[in-house]
């Protein structure tokens, strides 16, 4: 006998399943199961990865789903009433109450034989959490619709599943599919239905004693699904026929009190009706200890804590994958009441045997190669291939002058491969998209390995010439490759939607869909949700979550343990509540019970020592919590209410008569019977443990940024669809990896902010300077551009603007485009960890000779000076040195990258080494060494084609930054969010390069940032610009300006006369929807008074206040304080009459407007603080300028002077603009510190970070004492001591802290990388 589990939930049941697919597969194999079905709730999210993982591991996969029916089965088929469809819920409003489309009230649907269950009141914890799906929190399974399990028998069955799920989803709202009986009855072809768990309709009826109802339900489903494939119920349901049956009764036993009886009843019914049975275990986790995590995810799903979860939790701990022997020992054991009934025993053993038969009968092949092309229409007489060849030759004549034999040979070769692999249509689809983009002037370019292909180049899909860059076509397509070639096309982020609409229109909505993106738990979300579920006080959870630097949930432990305070804090459970009663009282958290005694110990604060009075985002409550040091949710055995902080009454351990109930004893915690259990761990340890275990758990679905699926067959037959959050948009339940696995064609239409920025820049240049730039024809050898790159003056430049790039550019000194390609490819986590960076840099600087292991490698590795860097190089080594075929070389590259089974590796290893020896005559040792290097590299390989495409864009953006800085800044600002730096850094950088940046002004600014004529240098500034003088370029090696000759040659003469006017859109609160009005009103003429602004813009009062504080109304000519004084009056007059929005205001008595009293003028400090608070930047001065006097007195050096400063001790002051905590740097933290003269990198070694974490995390303005290090032109400050700048400055008579500087915490809180 053998057993297969046919009812199993993975973590794709979204918080109702505690094991990942591979864990289940691994366990099933270990237990010797003959098959495993995945039946997640309402979707097929996990089936593709399940099927492929299982097949690879040698386990038979069964694909299925567990649906929740909307209505109970109506026994008379003729009386099935299609339920009236209620309109989908509109908007996200109505936070409480049952959403339309949710499970209907059970009292109406389960009327027959079932008592109406009272619906539990849903209690909500006040913290806002995005609902994972529709809001079913607090509703027990038993109060929702009945369950039914469906398994796909074959391809037809899979199609039925897809259609059923898609239609139910499209009929419902996001996350709440509507499976009605009528819909189900329409989709039974090829499906096997199992009667379901204890919440299946049959079991529900049996549990309340409604045998007749249960019988009718069983008969009804048997009639729909075909009780037995060979004719029906008259044939006895004995073993052997089960596999052909369409409806099978499920037997489950979880050692619950009623289970013996339920199994016996179901068995009786099966025999009476002649239906087969199957034993399943409704698996929710792979191993017994998974129960704990399952309880935690259930608590998360319901927004409760474990303690308050009550009956929402699964009542048993038995829903793990059980081996056959363990199931066999369940009923009907002799202790079962059914022991006198041989039917039960027979049904149970048959049910076990049937399981593997049914599993074997279910076989679905998830390969849809046949369906992948939607059919591209070509002119009569042409085939897709002939059309493609024609287009290619046309394109080649345009791209290449002259057309060399090398080009023609390569083109012929590629076309031949494309013809043989049948991919012509694919290229035509891409070509068509690019044609559309060109016609609509949407900036677009292909990236990724497609750039290896000359066909893609001549068709205009990519902009990189593969001949010029010596790229390898086989990296893109080869005949040995089984997966689909990947074409990623970047479009201007602003206009990508137009392209997506075009695809929908061209290929039809039935054949087009967006690939989903499965959002998984990240460090912060997992810490928060697990913490709350475990009953930790919410303020504490907040604090812990905010202390995280990592995004990776497995790293949570390492990250928080590094933050010494926490572990220590938690080791002293409950120490202190009272020690700090005064604090708690002050914050309104006083203990109502009044029974706490002072513990007399010093309170510990979570999150380390130092300046820890709370930072941005801390509430009074969280500060109180942390100061009081209440580490856990329990004090003296009493729980603390997570919200209020009040001690709850002691738990009831006795019954009404005061007798102990023995639930929850005293004394030491006993060990759990399960090995991996968290029993016995401290609360803190358990928290960390669950965070690690939830790593990678799917949380919800979102739309993938640009993956579009185009298919020949209707999509609904191939993949399940569901609604996306975006109205009208539909996504496939598979993510991009799944789509690749089932061999469908997917186009990645990505949005790239830089393309939007470059496009706008070019248009502005045309408009402002009457110069028409064709970037395609931009020469590749403009030395001044490379000069700028070598000086690392790259803020805003595509791809090479990050801290790591800026640190290496002066060393790698790129002086041609190929060097830039290397630069783009090499500064990535992989090469950094793989130690490829330093050898390259040393060789580039001439510190180390360029050597090759063997002369045959020289032509392959010459680009990268002998260092293996690109995937194409690995393949070429495999081909030229080791004698692999082109197709095999790609397989070799992939195998190296993914570390397949060691046997496979061993085979490739032998093949490679033997090849090297035989073909190039390498000594065996050298061949081994070469293999080692190739294998070491392969894990972080980067396609050269991709790097080349990006390098070209990086080059173009460098050109624009150098010669048209004003226009480029406008492009960047308007394309936000994008890039590495916030707007403030971009603006300050432009100012340092002498670009006049003009403040926001309601009488001059449009919604978007624009260019504005300020006159050539030396000319007087036009009136009313809002600035007194042009900024002088900063003298610093890191600030490169074009030479007069270069300027004359490469830029228009008028380019230097343009400044940048910041747009109103930068003011917080003014959104896209105000854009049109703001622009129209500006065009109508200047605003003359505050009343005028209020009337014409109709902006909310708070937004107007921000405008005043940003200085946008200064041009009205009234002092700011007066405007603020009047604002409330003017605005309230407007709103009073029109709506009830004036609630809480003084009654408008229609009194004449009051004159503002004589208010003092606003000081510079306050002005700057306001500007930073509202705009996060100031056009006139950088905030550090305010402190310069004090900094001078403190002996601090401006950043621009650091290049001339001797090595050794140094003191600097600045504003933190980015903070990086790269996982590759082993705990080192990098800060980019900006002052008015430039930016400098500050490095904090792990011990320094541990010491100063508190200050650095909570302050944006810092004074750093450290060690200056200079390596060539790269300057670095190693921090020794960091203090908050305002406090240090105050000691030497510095300015008072600008009031808006509090908000600067935001700048410091930004994390990148």
């Amino acid at each position: 006998m053998a057993y297969a589990e046919l009812h199993c939930h993975t973590n794709f049941s979204f918080l109702d399943g505690a094991s990942a697919v591979d864990e289940l597969v691994e366990r099933a194999l270990a237990l010797g199961l003959t098959g495993l079905a995945v039946t997640d709730h309402g979707g097929l999210y996990g089936v593709v990865r399940f099927a492929s993982t299982a097949r690879e591991a040698g386990l038979h996969p069964v694909i299925g789903v567990e649906i929740e029916l909307l209505d109970a089965f109506a026994p008379d088929l003729d009386r099935i009433v299609i339920p009236a469809r209620r309109p989908a819920r509109r908007g996200a409003g109505r936070p409480t109450g049952r959403p339309a489309g949710a499970a209907p009230d059970p009292s109406t649907t389960l009327s027959e034989g079932l008592p109406a269950r009272p619906r539990p009141e849903r209690t909500r914890l006040p913290g806002r959490r995005e609902p994972i799906k529709e809001d079913f929190r607090g509703i027990a399974e038993g109060s929702r619709g009945p369950h039914l399990v469906l398994l796909a028998r074959d391809a037809t069955g899979y199609r039925s599943l897809c259609r059923l799920i898609s239609r139910a989803n499209l009929a419902g709202t996001k996350g709440a599919p509507r499976f009605s009986q009528a819909l189900l009855a329409d989709h039974v072809e090829g499906l096997i239905a199992l009667s379901g768990c204890r919440d299946g309709e049959l079991a529900r009826r049996l549990r309340v004693g409604d045998r007749d109802g249960a019988r009718q339900v069983a008969e009804g489903y048997a009639a729909i699904f075909g009780g037995l494939a060979n004719g029906g119920r008259d044939v006895a349901g004995t073993a052997g026929t089960a596999a052909r049956a369409g409806f099978i009764l499920e037997l489950q036993h979880h050692l619950l009190p009623e289970d013996d009886w339920l199994v016996a009843e179901t068995a009786r019914l099966a025999e009476e009706l002649g239906l087969p049975t199957v034993v399943t275990n409704d698996v929710h986790y792979a191993l017994p200890e998974g129960r704990e995590l399952h309880d935690v995810v259930t608590a998360i799903r319901h927004g409760r804590t474990l303690e308050t979860l009550a009956d929402l939790r699964r009542p048993d701990g038995e829903s793990y994958l059980k081996p056959e022997a363990e199931l066999l020992a369940l009923p009907p054991g002799d202790q079962a009441p059914g022991n006198d009934d041989p039917r039960t025993a027979r049904a149970w053993t048959e049910g076990l045997a049937n399981s593997s038969e049914i599993a074997a009968a279910c076989s679905v092949d998830l390969g849809f190669e046949r369906y992948r092309f939607p059919g591209f229409s070509v002119p009569v007489g042409e085939t897709p291939f002939s059309q493609l060849a024609e287009l290619c030759h046309q394109g080649a004549r345009k791209r290449y002058h002259p057309l060399t034999p090398a080009v023609l040979n390569q083109l012929t070769h590629e076309l031949a491969v494309i013809e043989r692999t049948g991919l012509a249509e694919f290229f035509l689809i891409c070509w068509d998209l690019m044609r559309f983009a060109r016609e609509k002037r949407i900036p677009a370019q292909g990236r990724g390995s497609a750039a290896d292909s000359i066909v893609a180049y001549v068709l205009g899909i990519t902009r990189v010439d593969p001949i010029r860059h010596n790229l390898l076509f086989e990296r893109f397509i080869n005949e040995g490759r089984t997966t689909y070639p990947d074409v990623d096309i970047d479009f201007s982020s602003k206009r990508r939607e137009e392209v997506i609409q075009y695809v929908y229109e061209t290929y039809g909505p039935e054949h087009t869909g967006m690939v989903c993106n499965i959002v998984t738990y990240r460090a912060r979300s997992v810490v928060r949700e697990v913490g709350v579920a475990l009953g930790f006080p919410r303020p504490l959870v907040d604090r812990v979550a905010k202390a995280l630097e990592t995004y990776d949930s497995v790293m949570v432990r390492r990250d928080l343990e590094a933050d010494g305070g926490f572990a220590e804090f938690f080791q002293r459970p409950g120490n202190p509540v009272s020690a700090v009663a005064p604090v708690a009282e002050r914050h309104g958290l006083a203990d109502r019970m009044g029974q706490l005694r002072l513990a007399g110990k010093p309170a510990l604060r979570a999150g380390g020592s130092g300046d820890d009075k709370g930072g941005p985002g801390d509430s009074a409550a969280s500060v109180a919590w942390l100061e009081s040091g209440r580490g856990t949710g329990h004090v003296d055995g009493r729980a603390i209410d997570p919200e209020s902080g009040v001690l709850l009454p002691p738990e009831r351990r006795t019954d009404k008569l005061g007798r102990p109930n023995h639930w929850g004893g005293e004394g030491p915690v006993a060990a759990s019977p399960h090995a991996g259990s968290t029993v016995g761990l401290s609360d803190w340890e358990r928290w960390l443990e669950f965070c690690a275990r939830m790593d990678g758990f799917p949380r919800h679905l979102s739309i993938h940024s640009g993956g579009m699926l185009i298919t020949a067959a209707p999509l609904i037959d191939i993949a399940p669809l569901e609604r996306a959050t975006m109205p009208g948009r539909v996504v496939v339940q598979y993510d991009k990896r799944d789509v690749e696995t089932i061999k469908l064609i997917k186009l990645d239409l990505l949005g790239l902010g830089m393309l939007a920025a470059i496009d706008e820049t070019v248009q502005l240049i045309e408009h402002d300077c009457a110069a028409c730039l064709d970037l395609d024809r931009l020469p590749e050898d403009i030395t001044e551009v490379f000069g700028m790159l070598q000086a690392a003056d790259t803020v805003g430049v595509f791809q090479v603007e990050s801290r790591a790039q800026m640190q290496t550019l002066p060393k790698s000194r790129p002086n041609c485009l190929d060097d830039l390609v290397v630069e783009v490819a090499i500064i990535r986590p992989g090469p950094i960890q793989g130690n490829a960076v330093h050898p390259y840099l040393r060789r580039k600087q001439g510190l180390e000779p360029v050597t090759y292991l063997h002369p045959s490698l020289a032509p392959i590795l010459s680009d990268s000076l002998g260092v293996i860097l690109y995937q194409e190089q690995v393949m070429r080594i495999a081909i030229d040195v080791a004698g692999f075929s082109a197709g095999d070389s790609d397989g070799f590259r992939r195998a190296m990258g993914t570390w397949r089974s060691s046997r496979e590796m061993e085979k490739l290893h032998a093949h490679f080494v033997d090849g090297c020896v035989a073909i190039q005559g390498l000594p065996r040792d050298d061949a081994e060494e070469l293999f080692r290097r190739v294998a070491g590299f392969a894990s972080f390989g980067f396609a050269k084609s991709h790097a080349a495409a990006f390098a070209r864009t990086a080059y173009e953006s460098s050109f624009l930054k150098l010669f048209y800085p004003a226009q480029f800044l406008v492009g960047l600002v308007n394309a936000q969010p994008m890039g590495f730096y916030p707007v403030e850094v971009l603006v300050n950088d432009a100012k340092r390069h002498g670009v006049a940046v003009l403040p926001v002004d309601i009488n001059a600014s449009s919604f978007r940032t624009t260019t504005e004529w300020v006159g050539r240098p030396g000319e007087p500034l036009p009136a009313g610009l809002g600035i007194d003088r042009r900024p002088e370029p900063v003298r610093s090696p890191a600030c490169v300006l074009p030479s007069p000759a270069g300027r004359e040659r490469w830029s228009a003469e008028s380019a230097v006369g343009w400044g940048v006017r910041l747009g109103l859109g930068l003011v917080k609160g003014i959104a896209e929807e105000h854009a049109e009005l703001v622009d129209t009103e500006l065009a109508r003429g200047p605003y003359t008074s505050l009343g005028d602004v209020v009337e014409r813009t109709d902006l909310p009062e708070e937004t107007l206040e921000r405008l005043v504080r940003a200085g946008a109304l200064d041009s009205i000519g009234r002092p700011r304080r007066e405007l603020l004084w009047q604002l409330r009056e003017v605005a309230s007059r407007r709103t009073a009459g029109t709506s009830g929005r004036a609630a809480g205001r003084p009654i408008d008595l229609h009194l004449p407007p009051t004159d503002a009293p004589g208010l003092p003028a606003i000081g510079e400090t306050e002005r700057l603080g306001d500007a930073y608070a509202v705009l996060s930047l100031d056009a006139r001065q950088q905030v550090i300028g305010l402190f310069r006097g004090a900094l001078d007195r403190l002996g601090a050096v401006p950043n621009a002077m650091l290049n001339e400063h001797p090595q050794g001790r140094v003191r600097i002051g600045g504003l933190v603009v980015t903070r990086q905590h790269p996982m590759t740097a082993k705990g080192t933290v990098f800060l980019a510190l900006e002052d008015e003269t430039g930016m400098v990198n500050v490095t904090l070694w792990p011990d320094a970070w541990a010491r100063m974490r508190g200050v650095v995390r909570r302050h944006a303005l810092l004074l750093v004492d450290g060690q200056l290090q200079r390596e060539g032109d790269v300057v670095n400050v190693i921090a020794r001591e960091i203090r908050p700048l305002p406090e240090a400055a105050a000691g030497v008579g510095g300015p008072v802290r600008p009031p808006g500087v509090r908000q600067l915490g935001y700048a410091g809180g930004r994390r990148t990388g």
């Binding site: 050692l255 129960r291 474990l306 060990a671 259990s677 968290t678």
Partner: protein
């Protein structure tokens, strides 16, 4: 009338070779029993774990609820139905 026992006294359980409960001994008296129902309780793992196998048993004199504490393997009598 049901009697809930205050201290859940230890009992000696007699199992047959297949591991099934056939009798138990409490306060010096042996009672041969037959199991009418059984269930498993696995609770409160995050606090003070409880892992018990409950048996509702019937003998000549008593109808009783006994359990096996799966954490330490001891048997207890919890409830006696008169």
């Amino acid at each position: 009338m049901t009697r809930l026992l205050r201290e859940h006294p230890l009992i000696d359980a007699e199992l047959d070779p297949a591991g099934r409960l056939v009798a138990f001994r409490w306060a010096g008296r042996r009672e041969a029993v037959e199991v009418c129902n059984r269930w498993r309780v696995d609770e409160a793992w995050w606090r003070q774990p409880i892992a018990r196998d409950y048996f509702k048993v019937v003998g000549a004199r008593w109808l009783a609820l006994v359990y096996l504490d799966r954490l330490d393997g001891s048997w207890h009598l919890e409830r006696v139905y008169d």
